[in-house]
Amino acid sequence: MELFANLALGFQTAVSPMNLLYCLVGALIGTLIGVLPGIGPVQTIAILMPTTFSLPPVSALIMLSGIYYGAQYGGSTTSILVNVPGEASSVVTCLDGYQMALQGRAGAALTISALGSFVAGCFATVVLAVLAVPLSELAFKFGPAEYFSLMVFGLIGSIVLASGSMIKAVGMIVLGLLLGMIGTDVTSGVQRFAFGIPELADGIGFVSLAMGLFGICDIINSLEKKQSRDILKGKLAGLWLSKADLKASAPAVLRGTLCGSLLGILPGGGAILSSFTAYMLEKKSSRNPESFGKGNIRGVAAPESANNAAAQTSFVPLLTLGIPPNVVLAMMAGAMMIHGIQPGPRVISSNPELFWGVIVAMWLGNAILVLLNLPLVGIWVRLLSVPFRRLYPAILLFCCIGLYSVNNNTFDIGLTAFCGLLGYIFHKLDCEPAPLILGFILGPMMEENLRRGMLLSRGDPSVFFTRPLSLGFLLAAAAMLVMLALPAIRRGREVAFKEK
């Protein structure tokens, strides 16, 4: 009963014409910047934050959160159309989404990503409303041992991401781990492999790495083969989903949603982990895993649903505990502080209209987004018919603007160019960048938690096996390793490799 009273309060707050307008503006801006490669919600919120000072705090938060999940919607658009992941969480979408676009099915890919995101958004909003408080307790069960074991599980699982040689996939993961070592070590505060360059003291920027390895590298490849992109011109039909598409993707959407709702709550990379995990889950549970990476619609539906669900549930730790789980939400916490609201466990009781208003506005925002995005699908797809020689300078320009705005520093642009070259070499060697990216993200978190666990137990490694959650993850990782080593599966992978 209390829930309904709370939701009623939320609707009262969110449905005022002024707040609806800010919800629409936020969602629209979010979609637009999501579509522009490189300019993500972090930079946009940083730029727009001063303009929200004069707004009432509820309206400000509704608009800022609209930008955040709007960007999750829009971010997939560039992943699918031009293979440039705008957001860390849409890297996985590149794998099958871009392949679908190359096959002339960009419309179907965009539609399923919008619909999947909507379903996920609705579900996650309900989760947020009903379970916010009990769910926030989950994060506390995670000590260093649990995090470490979760990362081990994720890393072993990431081998599945590759569709080619397993040796190469492992090699790329290890390279990703090594690249992740660059920067200031969290445990000791010492700089590693920074070579005295202050810009490297924080490590290689994720945006630079992902944009270089995927987007820039792909532009180089396309320029090399002159006609590759012109294939798209003929086959633009099929904006809507076929029955077979719907049947294949509906369960994938549901699995992705569940996966994202759970992992989004974990502080530190929940949204990224969730899209990777959802993809791995789909590929492992599929009867023909070799079709992934070649334009399987389930490979778009699952991670897209997962990252949107995770974007919503990542508000749980912020709104219930005041702990921002990622950079975007850290900025929102800053925005709340400017308005004199200390994010923390007291928000629900001291500002109920803010808490419930924002939750209801999220659901409304998701509805607005799907209405906004479905008609746009046709327009985005038409972008592909722009000759590539006209399109790529624009992509490069937007990438540069976006990269510069991350830190107001030109170093990142140079770094991205370098990563682009690196990606080109990998491409020539048939090495896939996705496992590298996962190693790069998980490696530092794994190391930090391994060392913290060992430090706190004074060098006793048994903590990783005596804590039940941690043991569970390690056992699951071991099981996965066995599965990968099973001859039948290995043969399956070899067949897939030969087909290439």
Binding site: V186, E199, A201, D202, G268, A333, A335, N408, L455, L456
Partner: protein
């Protein structure tokens, strides 16, 4: 006709003379805009919020556009190095803290800036206090109890801080020293993860800025004491009251400008900043962030800086911490 011509000439000459001298004269008072306040951290953090509050007020008192520019990276060192090379005419200010001006010169063998040679102090704007806390389920109820617990359980005496080489890291060492035990330090990736670890009872002791933890006291995190001369909350004593006057030290945010900025410009900026920081609505907002609004002259800030170096340098050196 002639008289009109003469009058015109006179007007033109006067205008020219006033223009010539006028252009040269007010440079000491009038600062060329737009004025930038560089925050060497990402938007949304504590020092960014304070800078934005002040920028809003300075706009009126300096009669110029005042913008906040974020230059994050390398723990603030990139932004600091950037401001070092900016024109020394008062048009670029920088927000600094003890990590950049007290700790960095000790722990880096090659630092790209010299806090004293490259910058001139303007004003210390806010201070914040450190606190020591335990998980809510802990048996420890006060500082004395904590010291006893550390003495009895030296093998579990681990404490967490938001970053390696941060002031809370070194502050924690003082607590270990009071107990005569070398506590194991574990750094977290910021205040958020440390708070989570404390609430979840993953670490027995936490040391951080008071404002990072005050919202969780007393249900989720039990704050045992704050450093400083007065209580921040009526139910949380200070270390001095608990009988440990040696466990002390506060953090601060301050404004500096490039070293060669003329004294008159520095003084004008300082006066405007003090006025902005002491505006009632700013004071109230800064307090709601858990900080204290201060606002000092350049000289008073210099004195604080000197005192803090004397306090922290031996502790940092004794810890053996090096960033390279």
């Amino acid at each position: 006709m002639r008289s009109l011509f003469t009058r015109l000439c006179v007007v033109v000459i006067i205008a020219a003379v006033v223009g010539l001298f006028g252009a040269g004269m007010p440079s000491a008072q009038q600062i060329k805009g737009p004025i930038k306040i560089v925050v060497p951290y990402p938007a949304g953090g504590g020092s960014d919020v304070v800078a934005r509050l002040i920028a809003d007020k300075l706009k009126d008192s300096l009669g110029q556009t005042v913008i906040v520019e974020n230059k994050p990276g390398a723990g603030g060192r990139i932004g600091t190095e950037f401001v070092k090379g900016q024109p020394a005419d008062g048009s670029t200010m920088l927000v600094v803290n003890p990590a950049l001006f007290v700790v960095a010169p000790v722990v880096f063998s090659k630092l790209a800036y010299d806090p004293d040679a490259d910058f001139a102090p303007v004003s210390l704007i806010t201070t914040y206090q450190f606190c020591v806390s335990v998980p809510p389920t802990s048996t420890v109820k006060d500082v004395k109890g904590l010291i006893d617990w550390i003495k009895k359980n030296p093998n579990q005496a681990n404490y967490g801080s938001p970053a390696a080489g941060s002031l809370p890291h070194f502050f924690g060492l003082m607590i270990g020293k009071a107990a005569g035990v070398e506590m194991v330090h574990s750094s977290y990736n910021g205040s958020g993860p440390l708070v989570t670890a404390l609430i979840g009872n993953q670490i027995p002791i936490g040391v951080d800025a008071f404002d990072a933890q005050s919202a969780y006291h007393p249900d989720k995190i039990r704050i045992l004491a704050t450093a400083g001369t007065t209580r921040k909350k009526t139910d949380i004593p200070t270390f001095t009251e608990e009988g440990f006057p040696d466990i002390a030290g506060v953090g601060w945010n301050a404004i500096v400008v490039p070293a060669k900025t003329p004294k008159a410009v520095v003084d004008r900026l300082s006066a405007a900043i003090v006025k902005a920081v002491k505006a009632p609505d700013v004071v109230q907002k800064i307090q709601s962030l858990g900080n204290d609004a201060v606002g000092t002259t350049p000289e008073a800030f210099s004195a604080t800086l000197k005192k803090d170096r004397e306090r922290w340098t031996p502790i940092i050196k004794a810890s053996g911490f090096k960033a390279e």
